[in-house]
Subunit: 171 residues, 2 copies
DNA sequence: TTGATAATGAAAACCATTTTCACTAAGCAT
DNA sequence: ATGCTTAGTGAAAATGGTTTTCATTATCAA
């Protein structure tokens, strides 16, 4: 389970089961300890593509490690965000959401938030064209404001399919 | 100050000093009373282009109307958001921000958030090209997910000019 | 194996926001 | 104008996600 880890950092290609080794390296590289809670929390985030809240993660983790406290979940998530391994979002429902940073969309995120039922649709699946367009906006804005973009979120607020049907009387 | 208000709603062209009359009409049209706290809070939002927090608004309002409580500020803001007169944002600093909905950018917002100093730069000043690009993304996504977009926010997280200078040692 | 100390967890604190409830005032009917 | 009805208000308390505190534990370099 615990594979050897060489000095140079593998270029973010974890391989089957090797994600843990890569993570360990990142932690050591930053001078942090790779503890059991941190492993389990990363595993939980790695196992889903959903945007989990701290409590979601706490409950999932609690099934296998009932001794891990909510405090540690919050602290670990804060650390992971600061290390750039995890993205933190806010959809306006009063709790933060967390998502593992993946190669597939390294820094572009898109969400549809229904203002009626509060449902959040993950619309990260940008095609070629959308990716290109958002990248061009990013470059323009970054140059205009002398800003170095690390991560980008686009949120569309409106009515989901189900809720817009139920409101056919409005305008 | 208080101008006559005809049945049909003026097409969102307040005119000098007539914003209040238009607001009153919106409130009456929804069956709400146009109270002093509501007027003052709208005035405060109308007087700035900044993204104010509830407390910001409370303090600004408090100077002229010390009797208006923070509770009312929250309640009024919630109502204004629900009426579509005000937009609510979250930049991840633990407090919501509010901004009056204006004709200039009726439903597109863009912010740059510095992950180091937490500064928020209002980058709403989209040129022709950016507006066009974000609109095309919106249309594509809306169709793909059968979603009726009401409002849209693009946030770029990264380092502002000042903070990226101070970090020339990194990568 | 051992020691230094980073990390943990339970409980308390924090703090933005919401709820409660007695009171006030907007605006319609008189 | 005056009074009535009730939507709206504000002080205080409650809520709930997140952070802090502090005594205890576990990681890992030596
Ligand atoms: Mn995403
Ligand atoms: Mn804006
Ligand atoms: Zn919905
Ligand atoms: Zn900065």
């Amino acid at each position: 389970m615990q594979q050897s880890y060489s000095k140079r950092m593998p270029p973010r290609r974890p391989g089957p089961g090797g994600a843990k080794g890569w993570w360990r390296g990142r932690f050591k590289g930053c001078g942090y300890r790779f503890t059991v809670p941190r492993q389990v929390i990363l595993d939980t985030l790695n196992r889903t593509s959903k945007h989990l809240s701290a409590e979601d993660i706490y409950l999932a983790v609690h099934r296998t490690c009932p001794n891990i406290g909510l405090t540690t979940v919050y602290r670990t998530l804060e650390l992971l965000v600061q290390m750039g391994l995890v993205f933190k979002f806010d959809f306006g429902d009063g709790r933060a959401r967390y998502e593992l940073s993946r190669e597939t969309h390294p820094r572009g995120h898109c969400y549809l938030v229904c203002i009626n039922c509060r449902r959040v649709i993950n619309a990260d699946d940008f095609r070629e064209k959308e990716t290109e367009r958002i990248k061009q906006i990013e470059e323009t804005i970054a140059k205009r404001y002398n800003f170095r973009v690390r991560n980008q979120i686009t949120q569309f607020y409106g009515l989901c399919g189900k809720c817009s049907q139920e409101r056919t009387e409005d305008e």
